[in-house]
Amino acid sequence: MTDQPRLTTGQTVTIRRPARPPAAAAGEPPETAIAIDALSVWYGKVLAINQVTMSIPERRVTALIGPSGCGKSTLIRCLNRLNDLIEGLRITGRILLHGQEIFDPLLDVIELRKRVGMVFQKSNPFPKSIYDNVAYGLRVNGEQRRVVLDRVVEDSLKRAALWDEVKDRLRTNALRLSGGQQQRLCIARAIAIEPEVLLLDEPCSALDPIATAKIEELLYVLKERYTIVIVTHNMQQAARVSDVTGFLLMGQLVEFDATEKLFTTPRDPRTEAYITGRFG
């Protein structure tokens, strides 16, 4: 851990959206967007995440790989506190989003989720029109102005590389889109509220290779604006899209390093065994 985050005491709970510094020049170490510090998660008595410490760099793609049940999804869902819904869940440790403790009891979890968007494994558009899907995040935040909504919907769909395919049928039901389009719609919905971080939980596992390739290209573009955390089963995907990769095994972070390094010269024999396909 080279850039240890400064841990604040959690006194300040006002939402600070830090002014974005210009993208770090190549070679310069990126800033930390999310700092995870000794995070442990229990489902009842079962330990799902064991003392994970990592720092997720700003405006980079961070991939989390590991075999099924290793805690990747649990970890990523801690980042926007979606795990709060699960009964019997217990969390220790800290997560700092731009230096701000997200488990602070005074923190407004709704504000947090606006800052940390998420795309799920199974594409889950609302049974509404394409337009209403993308505008949903704005509308629940009280945005009513037609002009603003129109602009954001168009903008988000363009950034999700879906605009050209759907611009003539924004009023049709989103469920009529193909699987890959639905997943891109979910991305558009997530980025419509301008989050700082975008979490993707195995976004391509249900898609065919062409749709997968489209999403991967999209991630490449999106990382210029957002910090992206992607959970994936597919090691090639991790190698292709990510800048930093973490390997999780049995709830422990075995190795966390630049993708290139992790895939070519893994330090830990377990990582090597996994990426060469000897287990998992």
Partner: protein, 579 residues
């Protein structure tokens, strides 16, 4: 021709609904079984055959019930020929064939083959009975006189006989039956017009006048209840109301006077009816509801009579202690009550289910509530009626009366049975149906939708309101359909919370505030009970019972089809082209 069964799953191919029936037929046809079906297959198909049997039994019950109701009900209004009979004991009768049956065995007459027929001979006012049994072998002559007339009257039921005179202020037509008939037909339109005018005065003008007088009387009573009548303003108000009543009473006297004149004028147009045995009856022409010569009617004429009777049945109020006329107020009451009930029960049930499923922390308490709600569905409906009477009518209604309408006491306004309290009672009764259906629907909403909404920064309430509830609407509507079907057919709780045999006023009329939810109402279900079991002329009213049942079923089907349509539209929104 083997039934297409999917033996691995034990299900019958859903693409081919006819296979179910074919399975049934094949499983019972002997040669098919001996030729193809091995014992092992019989055993393996046994559960499938059982499902087929159960379906067949259910179908048979539905078809049988519907068939009985349709046959008995729809034939009622068809004009039947009038038979003139002379019997061996010198009797002369004119009537319709009502029912035939073999003479019961203990009637020692002519062996088992002998038949007897129940004739409806009408003329209740002179014969004192509507029906007579005549043994077929006692009949000497039988004919269908063309001049025989069926006169449906406002009172005393139908008259079967002949028309001998038509008396008008201009003169009397008698003698030739053809001429008399033509004269009567000529007089009918003006008689109908006079009836309309008189009825308008009676119902609308006098009714409105009474209502106005009542308003002033209540205003005076209100002033009295306030207790201080000595201030000049109140004295002035009092005098104003008293004066208004006086003016209205004068107006009433004038109207009553003119009404009397109209009635006297109407009474001058009369018709003399003769029965087959020569007895006579004179009545005003306006007392005739419908008149036709059934033995002379062409096919078109019969259809016209049928249509007119049907129209009267559906759109007119009842006459003669509900055994004649129509059921319009009961139709209206049933529909309004069912809609009111739905309006009350759906929000109640949906909110309850939302609380139980989305908000409440699952635990023993919530499980207990859920069990209690489910058990509520098993409570006898009459118990709900008693509860409704005590809670809604007496407690809530009584309280409203005491504080809002004290001037009307001791006459209850909301403190008695009413369509509002009946609807709310039924709403309570059907709330478990909605809660159970809604909970099922909420459980079926994919968790991914909830998470997606929350991840967009929506609050829990926004998630439930904008995403979860719309997705559960089809399920809610299913519950509503079930609740409406149950509510529309329920009678027992209504009998003590607001249904009456004959409601003088409808819950909806032209007087402010137009919807009078505090009024009692009529209901088709209760109408069936009342006409079928409480009327003195059961044989004559049987047809009405069948028709009323048919109408009630029709209304339930209409309401359900409407709800299903809406549900279908909602469902379409959740269909995806490819997932």
């Amino acid at each position: 021709m083997r039934p297409r069964l999917n033996l691995t799953s034990g299900r019958i191919d859903p693409e081919r609904p006819s296979t179910l029936l074919r399975t049934l037929i094949l499983s019972w046809s002997k040669d098919e079984r001996s030729r193809r079906v091995t014992p092992r297959r019989v055993v393996s198909q046994l559960p499938i055959q059982l499902t087929g049997c159960m379906l067949a039994i259910a179908l048979l019950m539905i078809v049988g019930l519907m068939g009985l109701i349709l046959c008995q009900g729809l034939g009622t209004f068809w004009p039947q020929p009038l038979w003139e009979l002379t019997t061996s004991d010198q009797g002369r009768y004119l009537g319709l064939v009502h029912r035939r049956e073999p003479i019961p065995a203990d009637d020692h007459a002519q062996g088992a083959r002998a038949q007897r027929t129940l004739y409806r001979i009408g003329n209740r006012d002179v014969y004192e009975t509507d029906f007579v049994w005549i043994n077929d072998q006692h009949i000497l002559t039988q004919s269908r006189p063309t001049e025989a007339v069926v006169v449906e009257r406002l009172e005393w039921g139908p008259w079967y006989g002949f028309i001998s005179d038509v008396k008008t202020p201009e003169g009397t037509v008698s003698g030739n039956r053809e001429q008399v008939w033509a004269a009567l037909l000529r007089q009918r339109p003006s008689a109908r017009q006079r009836t309309r005018v008189i009825r308008r005065i009676e119902r609308r003008i006098i009714g409105d006048l009474n209502d106005e007088v009542e308003q002033h009387r209540l205003a005076i009573r209100r002033l009295e209840l306030r207790g201080r009548l000595d201030t000049p303003t109140e004295q002035r108000q009092l005098q104003r109301h008293q004066h208004a009543i006086k003016v209205l009473e004068q107006r009433y006297a004038r109207i009553a006077d003119s009404l009397g004149q109209q009635r006297a004028q109407d009474q001058a147009y009369r018709v003399v009816l003769t029965s087959i045995d020569g007895r006579q009856k004179e009545l005003p022409i306006s007392a005739i509801v419908r008149i036709h010569q059934p033995n002379r009617l062409s096919w078109c004429g019969r259809v016209a009579v049928y249509a007119d009777r049907l129209r009267e049945f559906v759109f007119d109020p009842p006459r003669e202690a509900n055994t004649e006329g129509g059921v319009a107020p009961a139709v209206f009451g049933t529909v309004l009550m069912t809609l009111l009930m739905s309006v009350a029960v759906v929000p109640l049930g949906v909110l309850g289910a939302l609380c139980l499923h989305e908000y409440a922390k699952q635990g023993p308490l919530v499980s207990g509530v859920r069990i209690a709600v489910n058990n509520l569905a098993g409570v006898p409906s009459i118990v709900f009626g008693v509860f409704g009477l005590g809670f809604f009518c007496y407690l809530i209604g009584g309280t409203i009366d005491r504080f809002v309408f004290p001037e009307r006491l001791p006459t209850p306004t909301f403190g008695g049975g009413s369509i509002l309290w009946a609807s709310l009672t039924l709403a309570l009764m059907t709330v478990p149906v909605i809660i159970v259906a809604t909970e099922e629907a909420l459980a079926a909403v994919p968790n991914g939708l909830r998470e997606a909404s929350l991840a967009c920064g929506a609050s829990k309430f926004q998630t439930v309101w904008r995403v979860v509830l719309p997705a559960a609407i089809p399920g809610v509507l299913t519950g509503t359909i079930l609740a409406m079907a149950r509510g529309a057919g329920e009678v027992a709780p209504l009998m003590i919370t607001g249904v009456v045999k004959l409601a003088p006023t409808m819950p909806l009329d032209h007087l402010w505030p137009f919807i009078h939810l505090e009024r009692k109402f009529m209901h088709l279900g209760f109408h069936i009970y009342d006409v079928g079991y409480q009327s003195t002329n059961i044989e004559a009213s049987k047809a009405m019972v069948y028709m009323t049942t048919l109408l009630l079923l029709g209304i339930v089907v209409c309401l359900n089809v409407t709800a299903m349509r809406i549900r279908g539209q909602w469902r379409q929104r959740f269909h995806s082209a490819d997932v």
